[in-house]
């Protein structure tokens, strides 16, 4: 069993499942086909208007159900979609992975549509404090979760039955 250790005596890590989503498509098959056909996923941005922006093209994923639901929802769906493929390939598709979860993700940010809805509501308070007053009565778990940096990993942990405290890495 010497093959099971590397030259420093550490256990060799085997990759048993891979999942990908890019602007080229969902899954290894579509991505492989597109890449080997020389196709690029870079295209004009459609997820939001590009008026006034210097950049007008990007590898955006604009074909998922949450592509127009703000960055937190889309980040979750991207992660969920890729993880589902990886786990299925590795044979852990029963929702009880029972291993740790590490996820690299961008910071969360409340969507501007929610900020507009709260900031422009008819409530009386002034300026930034108005949002706080509206927030107090809003009781909208969805909006709250878009401000919590642990939310995406926590939802993934629920979805796939991972074990322990999930780690969200945001090192650039």
């Amino acid at each position: 069993m010497e093959d099971m250790k590397d030259n420093l005596g550490r256990p060799v890590v085997a990759v048993t499942g891979i999942g990908v989503v890019t602007s080229l498509g969902v899954g290894k098959a579509d991505n492989w086909a597109a890449l080997t056909a020389g196709r690029s996923g870079i295209h004009p941005i459609r997820r939001f208007p590009i008026d006034h922006l210097a950049t007008t093209i990007a590898g955006t994923v604009d074909f998922l159900p949450s592509s127009d639901q703000g960055s937190v929802e889309l980040t979750y769906e991207l992660a969920e979609t890729a993880a589902r493929e990886a786990l299925a390939e590795a044979g852990y598709d029963n929702g009880h992975f029972a291993g740790p979860l590490f996820v690299a993700s961008p910071p969360v940010e409340m969507d501007w549509r929610d900020r507009f809805a709260m900031g422009l509501s008819a409530d009386g308070a002034e300026g930034a404090l108005r949002l706080l007053k509206v927030a107090r009565d809003l009781k909208d778990q969805r909006v709250f979760e878009t401000t919590q940096f642990g939310t995406i990993a926590d939802r993934l942990a629920d979805r796939f039955g991972t074990q322990g405290l999930p780690i969200t890495l945001s090192t650039a």
Binding site: L120, F149, T171
Partner: protein, 395 residues
């Protein structure tokens, strides 16, 4: 005792109580400490504000100070304090091989730009276009950088030249728990010899309060100690500005460079209890048991936030776990979010090093602890999710 035990050799603290580990010990070890609370600026909410800080003491260059806002300044400053305390500041050999794990949320948004966009949106329907218009012209690039989560670690590298491996973890209290747990595990496994770990939180910004209040978590009305907010108006959390950084080392590494330590970091336990289900107190009890708390009276530096459900569960768990004598640090510091767990560990280590437990933290619910503490528990039970506990012992 083993060469790969984790010892705490440096502590950097900032809170409403003051600046530095020694200042915190001086304030907290004296009976009758009073919380520093500002109840007018964000009324009906209270906050524990930042103390007066001479940024230049740890961030020498004005240019570096200018390109940060207070969240990154707080973290960079406290990291500098910890490095100084550990005797590693400016030591190129030590800093260039030092690993770093920062627990980070986000930095301050530009409130004026946000408000300008909201004001303009009142009379416009093409709001997506309006956003592009305003964000491309009014958002100063430096302010955008101040918002980025991983630029706290970036600034620590730039200012203090800590340039070993660098990781930024996100996820409120859980980020601080995972940062400490991961750094300690790497040292115990021999993958790291010394690491800088910590986080900062700057609450004096409407958006930082908003992130709690969207979930109904903020306490309103008259200030009360963290254990005594059940049934009062609001959600029980009073936030604070501050930061906590620790220098963790293997016992062997600290001994070889001849540096003393505050305490040893024993088992670190973390968990993710499904908060929609019952049994949080039982899960916290299991975490405490996993830290191998010794028999007999033991001081517990609790990072309880005041959030009603989580705090009640933690109180129940502490009461059942043995002879634990809690000190609710948030009564005095406010909730420091990502910095909560490192801060609790720092206070535990300070008490062990100084050979005395803290008198009660301004709460009638806390009882005195006699004798020299040989160990202390530190907890951080997230206001909304994630839980952690660690045992800190005499080195």
């Amino acid at each position: 005792m083993s060469a790969s035990d984790v010892v705490i050799t440096g502590i950097g603290l900032v809170s409403a109580l003051g600046v530095g580990a020694q200042a915190h010990w001086a304030v907290l070890s004296a009976p009758g400490v009073k919380p520093v609370v500002d109840s007018t600026r964000y009324a009906p909410y209270s906050v524990h504000p930042m103390p007066e800080i001479d940024w230049s003491a740890q961030i020498a260059k004005r240019g570096d100070q200018r390109q940060m806002e207070n969240w990154q300044r707080l973290g960079t400053f406290a990291a500098g304090l910890a490095l100084d305390d550990a005797g590693t500041k400016g030591d190129e050999a030590l800093c260039s091989t030092m690993d770093m794990i920062v627990a980070a949320g986000g930095g301050e948004r530009d409130e004026a730009v946000d408000q300008a966009i909201l004001d303009a949106a009142a009379s416009r329907n093409d709001r997506d276009v309006l956003l592009n218009e305003k964000l491309t012209t009014e958002l100063r690039p430096t302010l955008f950088l101040a918002q980025l989560s991983n630029l706290l670690a970036g600034n620590i590298s730039i200012v203090h030249k800590v340039t070993g491996s660098s990781r930024t973890f996100m996820g409120e209290e859980g980020a601080g728990i995972a940062a400490v747990e991961t750094a300690a595990a790497r040292i115990r496994a021999g993958q790291s010899t010394h690491a800088l770990v910590g986080g900062a939180f700057q609450t004096e910004h409407s958006d930082m309060l908003l992130a709690y209040e969207l979930g109904g978590y903020l306490h309103r009305g008259p200030f009360a100690p963290v254990w005594e907010r059940q049934g009062m108006e609001g959600g029980g959390v009073v936030t604070g500005s501050g930061a906590a950084f620790l220098v963790l080392e293997s016992r062997d590494h600290a001994a070889r460079r001849g540096h003393g330590s505050y305490a040893a970091l024993g088992p670190v336990a973390s968990g993710r209890h499904d908060r929609s289900s019952a049994g949080l107190a039982r899960s916290i009890g299991a975490l405490i048991a996993a830290t191998a708390v010794p028999a007999g009276p033991l001081m517990a530096i609790s990072g309880a936030s005041g959030a009603h459900q989580a705090t009640a569960a933690e109180q129940a768990a502490l009461a059942e776990a043995g002879e634990l004598l809690p000190r609710g640090m948030s009564t005095l510091t406010g909730h420091l979010k990502e910095a909560q767990f490192p801060f609790a560990i720092a206070l535990a280590a300070l008490a062990i090093r100084n050979g005395a437990a803290y008198p009660p933290f301004a709460s009638a619910a806390e009882r005195p602890v006699d004798g020299r503490p040989q160990a202390a528990l530190a907890t951080a039970i997230g206001y909304h999710r994630f839980e952690g506990a660690a045992l800190v012992t005499a080195a």
